[in-house]
């Protein structure tokens, strides 16, 4: 019997509104008990969490691990290790790999790679359509059987309204959400947010409407089908408003926002910094404010990193030519504390709710809780430490982040998955 006793930490478990100083006992890969009178069970490894926060491991519903196909940028192993270092005990890997993760064998491959990695859990997301071509539905049933937790054509929207309708209906059979990348491609032929900054820089813009048109379509189809639509990386105030209204009507819609969209604005692109190029693009201050308010009132359910590694020289290009996306697993929590907790939008337990408990609920995953019998997926966080982002220290294979050199607040000291320490900060 393997035992770990985490002693003296501030235990925050949003799933049971717990915020108290206590010990946490893990036994055989499960949470055995949380309390102040656990003594010192025989053979338990003792971990001192004095002055630290003990919480259910963070869960990221949206990462790109690039394997198979772009292993120069990331692998399941390096991504899962970066996740563990960021305090995540589980991440959900998007299927826009090469070849596309659109069948049970491909799902099985990702799971096998994650088992070898022995870091954060990796739950694969299957493609909605074969090859993400937007034509024929992939085999949801077999993919779920192999371990897929959702379906998505992320990188692209689900191409047509008819395909989205069918996907939402068919996904109901398996109780999984359809995660959509909301972008009307015919409006989105640009490389940054359309506004005064794109005008100044002479870059083609992507209007907020490109996202909002698709959000509107998706919530209408979710209402029609009673399917669960999960809206990825929301970036505009209009989207937040559409989701808020949809939720008021009782439509089954959940939504995520990324740290960069609640931290940065389109001015960050000035100087043609390709590390500020992502899709959806960084928007305006009013959009950022709406995202923060959405996270506060629950319109936006979860924080997801949209971790998108790129090889170093891919970003070393003219802005128009550089690929979209940034790495985010190791900075997500620190940005969350700095922007949302210190910014007065969320309490620390609320931030942990949006990064752990709520993501588990949205994708129906194990974890996100410290109730007895739950998986022993636990993170010890130092919520007060101020640290400077040095991309060279990242566990990811890639270095593309606009937060390099910035001071963030709070980070993971130790991450436990299935009752095993998979990450321990040195020094």
């Amino acid at each position: 019997m393997t035992r770990i006793l985490i002693q003296g930490g501030r235990v925050i478990d949003p799933s049971q509104q717990m915020d108290t100083t206590a010990d946490v006992l893990l036994e055989d890969g499960k949470v055995a008990a949380v309390g102040t009178d656990l003594g010192q069970p025989e053979g338990a490894e003792l971990i001192d969490a004095g002055g630290k926060v003990v919480a259910p491991g963070l869960i990221d519903l949206h990462v790109h691990l690039r394997e198979p196909g772009q292993e120069d940028q990331e692998t399941v192993a390096t991504g899962a290790m970066a996740a563990a270092a960021g305090g995540f005990s589980a991440v959900c890997a998007m299927p826009n790999t090469d070849p596309v993760t659109d069948n049970q064998a491909a799902i099985g491959f990702v799971i096998r790679q994650s088992q070898r990695a022995q870091a954060a859990r990796v739950y694969p997301i299957g493609a909605v359509s074969l090859g993400q071509q937007g034509e024929r539905l992939a085999e949801f049933g077999e993919m779920v059987g192999a371990g897929a937790v959702a379906v998505s054509d992320d990188g692209h929207p689900v191409a047509t309204s008819q395909l989205m309708r069918t996907a939402l209906e068919y996904a109901r059979t398996f109780g999984i959400p359809v995660a959509d990348h909301c972008e009307d491609m015919s409006l989105a032929d640009g490389s940054m947010h359309e506004g005064i900054v794109s005008t100044r820089m002479g870059l083609p813009g992507i209007p907020s409407a490109a996202e909002e048109v698709m959000v509107a379509r998706d919530v209408i189809l979710a209402e029609l089908t009673s399917g669960h639509v999960h809206l990825c990386h929301m970036s505009t105030r209009g989207s937040v408003e559409l989701i808020r209204r949809a939720k008021e009507k009782g439509i089954s819609v959940t939504a995520e926002a990324t740290p960069h969209h609640f931290a940065l604005t389109h001015e960050r692109c000035e100087g043609y910094d390709t590390n500020a190029k992502m899709n959806p693009p960084l928007r305006e201050a009013e959009d950022r404010e709406a995202i923060r308010e959405g996270l506060k009132d629950g319109t936006i359910d979860v924080i997801a990193s949209d971790h998108a590694p790129h090889h170093y020289d891919a970003k070393e290009q003219a802005f128009d030519d550089a690929p979209n996306g940034i790495i985010g697993l190791e900075t997500a929590f620190g940005i969350g504390v700095r922007e949302l907790v210190e910014g007065g939008y969320l309490s620390l337990p609320e931030l942990i709710f949006r990064m752990s408990t709520r993501p588990a609920q949205v994708f129906n995953l194990p974890g996100g809780t410290l109730v007895g019998g739950a998986p022993a997926d636990v993170v010890i966080l130092d919520p007060d430490v101020r640290w400077q982002v040095d991309p060279q220290e990242s566990f990811s294979k890639s270095r593309n982040t606009p937060f390099a050199g910035e001071t963030l607040v709070g980070r993971a000291d130790l991450t436990i998955v299935r009752g095993k320490v998979v990450y321990r900060r040195e020094g």
């Binding site: 002479g202 870059l203 043609y272 290009q317 003219a318 128009d320 030519d321």
Partner: protein, 325 residues
């Protein structure tokens, strides 16, 4: 040297755009261009100012007049020049920019004049090499020497730029010429309006300090000078306007429309002109057109820019001494 009560403002290493220049810097370039105008009128059109300097003209986009204008400017300053044209597919436009930069750096050249299809390409290069970089047009961002020659032409005609009403007409959305003109003109106190179909107006353009005039008749009524942009046919694949024919009907600068102007209007165009599309032939060739003087001024302005970036301040246009063999 002599009294330097008002030392001319240095330009810095690169000329990337007019957005980052002060009014004094722009004024200084225009003033420096004045004596260079005369060099081109001489029988021996050469001064030794950049003797021994090596300049690469790096053109990733097809360009005839800008490249030739720069080349004449360089040769008339006695620089050694090499032309590199990498036309071809727009898909691969940014592909080799880093490697290009590294190779240029390794060749120890003094200056690069770059034309590139991607906005920010000149800055990208400037940040990576020690040589001076002159932006000869980057994507839809800036084309500073074009705007400078436009301003020199305006100043020739009106004797000033402050208070002159300039309407920039046409495809503002895709135009680096429009952006550079807006920065330069507003800094020097001109009143600037933009005129064109709303589908060719950039988002929030009024925040750049310009007035939007939705109809060409409004621009003609208002302006002292029209700067008529070329309608780039290749850009119109996106369906921004239905046809060139209709564009001419609705937005073309025609002599009939100009006849209703309350005053004579200076007609400018960065070229090459599409006769019968954005401008009618009789207007382009008419008495108020300064399209060809713009071309002449282009060489003087480019000589001034190259000269100032190379570290010159006091203009000496003494004729070239005989080569000592």
């Amino acid at each position: 040297m002599t009294d330097v009560t008002a030392a001319p403002p240095a330009l810095g290493k690169d000329l990337l755009g007019l957005h980052d220049l002060s009014a004094a810097q722009i004024q200084h370039i225009l003033d420096t261009a004045e004596p260079f105008k005369e060099v081109s009128e001489r029988p021996i059109k050469k001064v030794p100012a950049l003797r021994g300097k090596t300049i690469v003209n790096l053109f990733f986009e097809d360009s005839t007049r800008t490249r030739i204008s720069f080349e004449f400017a360089e040769k008339r300053l006695s620089a050694d020049t090499v032309n590199v044209a990498s036309g071809g597919s727009s898909v691969s436009k940014g592909e080799n920019l880093v490697d290009t930069a590294r190779n240029l750096e390794a060749m120890r050249i003094d200056m690069v004049v770059i034309r590139h299809g991607a906005s920010g390409a000149a800055q990208f290069l400037g940040e990576r090499i020690r040589s001076n970089v002159v932006n000869a047009g980057d994507g839809k961002h800036e084309h500073p020497t074009q705007a400078l020659l436009d301003m020199l032409t305006l100043r020739d005609h009106f004797g000033r730029i402050d208070g002159v009403k300039v309407a920039i007409c046409g495809d503002i959305l895709h135009s680096r010429v429009a952006r550079s003109n807006i920065w330069g003109l507003t800094k020097l106190g001109a009143e600037v309006a933009v005129c064109g179909p709303a589908s060719l107006m950039p988002s929030h353009v009024e925040e750049l300090g310009v007035t939007i005039l939705p109809r060409i008749e409004d621009a003609i009524e208002w302006a002292d000078a029209l700067n008529i942009l070329r309608l780039q046919m290749e850009r119109m694949q996106g369906g921004y306007i239905p046809s060139q024919r209709e564009y001419n009907r609705v937005f073309g600068v025609t002599s009939e429309r100009l006849s209703k102007a309350p005053k004579d209007i200076l007609i400018m165009h960065p070229g090459p002109i599409n006769r019968g599309v954005e401008i009618d032939s009789d207007v382009a060739d008419g008495p108020h057109s300064v399209i060809l003087p713009q071309v002449t001024n282009g060489i003087a302005v480019r000589m001034a820019v190259l000269y100032l970036l190379a570290g010159g301040s006091q203009v000496s246009t003494a004729a070239q001494p005989e080569d000592q063999a």
